[in-house]
């Protein structure tokens, strides 16, 4: 190959690589990104049944129930406007409590959110990003209401 052609081939190869990356990423992101919903969003029909999703809100007081197998729990997540039942099989994170915030990762199945993972506040300073936003939006909402 002549040096000039060589450069042409290399430049086009680089362009093909960039294009391939973008196309592959777009194709992958289209149906593999999991969206974040509040219970109100889900009741409004925003989440499709069976699609990977995240559900965030507060764990309703008095809602945590233990199944007989000892490792499955049921609880209700609320955002103040709507409530959503959640079922989770596993060891919930350290600071998963009634009345505090949590994000469940999983999918909606027949009106119940089946969680595969639960994220909760790590310590008194850390909050899962989505909850931080929720809190920030609540604050913003209140300010506007005033």
């Amino acid at each position: 190959m002549k040096p000039k052609n060589q450069r042409l081939v290399l430049v086009s190869a680089a362009l093909v690589a960039v294009l391939a990356a973008v196309l592959l990423a777009m194709w992958g992101l289209r149906d593999r990104a999991s969206y974040f919903y509040t219970p109100a969003d889900i009741l409004a029909g925003k989440a499709a049944d069976g699609q990977p999703a995240r559900l965030g809100g507060m764990v309703e007081k008095g809602s945590i129930q233990h199944e007989p197998d000892g490792v499955t729990i049921r609880f209700v997540v609320t955002d103040g406007k709507a409530a959503m039942p959640v079922v989770f099989r596993g060891i919930p994170p350290d600071l998963f409590r009634e009345g505090s915030g949590a994000v469940a990762e999983g999918r909606l199945q027949n009106g119940v959110f089946v969680a595969e993972t639960i994220l909760a506040k790590h310590d008194e300073r850390y909050m899962p990003p989505e909850l931080g936003n929720l809190a920030a939006e609540h604050k913003a909402g209140k300010t506007l209401a005033r």
Partner: protein
């Protein structure tokens, strides 16, 4: 006083960086002799940052609660090692460490670089000074680690217990050394683009830096993966978390650079390409730093509401990356392409390696940033996780692993040997592995099955470069390459076996009851309270056996008071063919305890492979430095060796 001394050292270092930049500009305009003063300034600047960092360590070691940063991130009851490590377990401290490494890297470049042309060195030191200057400004204006608290607090607020782990003491420094080591490659590329001296001499000067940074990144990622595995108690070794991706992206770019730099060093080809990769590699380090340090991951909103730090870092990122790319656009086209090569040649192999790595990098980059863009634009929140990364990047990585077995067998310029004859044995092994997995484990997924097959191929093919010649006379760099490539096969076996054959049991057990996981029977003997230095704990005694002998595991739950937090401390036992991983959960009203048990066959190979890859890199680095010290022999050897 200590804190003020640290702050003063930082200001002085910033002043020297500015001076260093002025010296470089002088050199562009006049004939003033600047190399020696520049070298001196760079060295003193590095020393000053080391003093500043030492002062920070000191205030943390002494638990000086009159320093705001110590108050916020430490506690007098913490074990000493975590007091010291706490110095870089927070935003300001870690940025100071970043800048310190940046300045020290500049000092080392000034001290030891005799291989590049003088003008390129001047320009590179100028670039390094410009980089440092921005980050000094960031520290001094937006993230002062030495800010005082008035009045001093009686005691600190503590450190996240998850971070109170030996892993923390070494993981971030290792990664940062890798991140920032790439800054030298960036500066050398910028310098060479300015002077036009992009040649094999530059590549050979750059190579030890890239190798060194890449080794540390490899070690950092491997260690971080193991840390997440045992500390989080989720049984996974890689979560595709944006923070993890932030360390993976520079590694991918550095891996590509590491390979293309060999083409430039040996054949003088791929000039523009290699300079581009050097710019991208450190840009990825800065993107990673931005992602982790700006707070944008916690919340795009928080980032927008409290923008000082994030915007500052974003501005630095935009300026440096933008300037470097502009320079590349202006000068890249004027570079003459080096020696030509045929379609089937080692050069082509390395180009394909680079293309695949770049595509994977792009996929990881887009997947990591996509949620941020979407949220910033539409306010919609989403996350991109394993399903995306595994299914989009996974097949490409496997394809790359096949080529890793073939590429090193090709010769430079034009293929002369009969490569496919050589590959008979690896291909046969791969076919055998495939047949075995189909017969013995028909139900496993396609990616793990392909992984095992390709790993078998690569394990055999990767050692061929030593087999086809006298292994004892092969240069150290060849040994390094072979070991690193073999390490990929080892890690791949670990990942595939873990994905295909892991067994998990999650159940409740009363003391005396036995659970089954994989080949193991695990009996819960008892759960007893215990205490550590700054926590109380519950400890389970588990007795595990699989026919021969019995092993005892003690998973714990720790309760910390400052700040109030609990953590699950997994207990892991390594046996020759895998790991038994146990986590103690909560108690049940009936007196039982939640237990989560995993049997993970050959999972240890993942990190063993990572360690092998880094070790191979270290051997290659040793070989390169050896050659730099004995240049004459090296030149003779240059023409004889086919495998670099």
């Amino acid at each position: 006083m200590i804190a003020e001394a640290g702050l003063a050292a930082l200001w002085l270092a910033a002043g020297l960086a500015a001076y260093q930049l002025v010296l470089m500009l002088l050199a562009l305009r006049t004939d003033v002799e600047v190399v020696r003063p520049m070298r001196a300034v760079a060295v003193v600047q590095g020393a000053l940052t080391m003093i500043a960092f030492a002062m920070l360590l000191l205030v943390f070691a002494r638990s000086d609660m009159s320093v705001a940063l110590v108050f916020e991130n430490s506690h007098s009851a913490k074990p000493f090692i975590y007091k010291v490590a706490g110095a870089w377990g927070n935003h300001e401290g870690s940025m100071l460490m970043w800048v310190t490494i940046l300045a020290v890297a500049g000092a080392l470049l000034a001290l030891f670089s005799r291989r590049t042309g003088e003008r390129t060195l001047i320009a590179a030191l100028g670039s390094q000074a410009l980089l440092a200057l921005g980050f000094y400004a960031f520290l001094l204006i937006a993230s002062n680690p030495f800010a005082r608290l008035s009045p001093a607090a009686p005691d600190g607020q503590g450190l996240n217990p998850l971070l109170q782990d030996p892993g923390l003491a070494f993981h971030p420094p290792t990664l940062y050394l890798g991140y920032v080591g790439l800054s030298v490659a960036f500066s050398l590329a910028v310098g060479a683009l300015l002077t036009g001296e992009v040649d094999s001499r530059l590549a050979r000067a750059m190579r030890p830096w890239v190798l060194g940074a890449w080794i540390l990144l490899t070690l950092g990622i491997t260690a971080g993966s193991y840390w997440a595995y045992y500390e989080l108690g989720w049984g996974g070794y890689w979560f595709w978390d944006p923070v993890e991706n932030a360390s993976l992206m520079p590694w991918l770019a550095a891996t590509a650079l590491l390979h293309s730099i060999n083409v430039l060093a040996s054949r003088g080809a791929l000039k523009a390409w290699t300079m581009m990769l050097a710019v991208i590699a450190f840009s990825m380090s800065m993107v990673g730093t931005f992602l982790v340090r700006s707070g944008i991951l916690t919340s795009v909103h928080a980032f927008a509401i409290d923008p000082e730090r994030g915007t500052f870092l974003l501005a630095l990122l935009a300026i440096y990356v933008g300037a470097a790319f502009t320079l590349f656009a202006l000068r890249g086209a004027t570079l003459k392409e080096g020696a030509p090569f045929e379609l089937v040649s080692r050069e082509t192999g390395l180009v394909i390696n680079n293309l695949l790595l770049s595509v994977i990098l792009g996929i990881v980059f887009l997947g990591t940033l996509y949620p941020l863009f979407v949220e910033a634009i539409s306010g919609e929140k989403l996350s991109v996780g394993a399903p995306y990364f595994n299914s989009v990047a996974g097949p490409l990585a496997l394809f790359l692993a096949v080529l890793v077995g073939i590429g090193p067998l090709l010769s430079w310029r034009r293929e002369r040997r009969r490569v496919f004859g050589l590959l008979k044995v690896p291909a046969l092994l791969a076919a055998t592995a495939l047949a075995i997995t189909i017969i013995l484990a028909p139900g496993i997924g396609i990616l793990p099955r392909l992984g095992l097959t390709i790993a078998a191929f690569l394990a055999a093919a990767s050692v061929l470069p030593l087999v086809v010649r006298n292994p004892l006379r092969a240069p150290l760099a060849t040994w390094g390459m072979v070991i690193a490539h073999f390490g990929i096969a080892v890690a791949l076996i670990g990942m595939a076996a873990n994905a295909a054959f892991s067994a998990e049991t999650l159940a409740i057990a009363k003391p005396g009851e036995t659970l089954n996981v994989g080949p193991w029977f695990v009996q819960l003997k008892d759960v007893t309270p215990t205490a550590g230095k700054n926590y109380t704990a519950l400890e389970a005694e588990l007795r595990a056996s699989r026919g021969d002998g019995m092993i005892v595991l003690n998973p714990q739950t720790h309760y910390y008071s400052d700040p109030p937090t609990e953590t699950n401390e997994s207990a892991i036992r390594t046996v020759w063919n895998g790991q038994l991983y146990t986590v103690l959960g909560r108690s049940d009203p009936s007196g039982g305890w939640q237990l989560r048990l995993w049997w993970k066959p050959f999972v240890t190979l993942i990190w063993a492979g990572g360690a092998l890859i880094a070790f191979g890199g270290a051997l290659a680095l040793l070989g390169r430095l050896w050659r730099i010290r004995r240049p004459r022999r090296a030149r003779g050897e240059w023409h004889r060796k086919g495998y670099a």
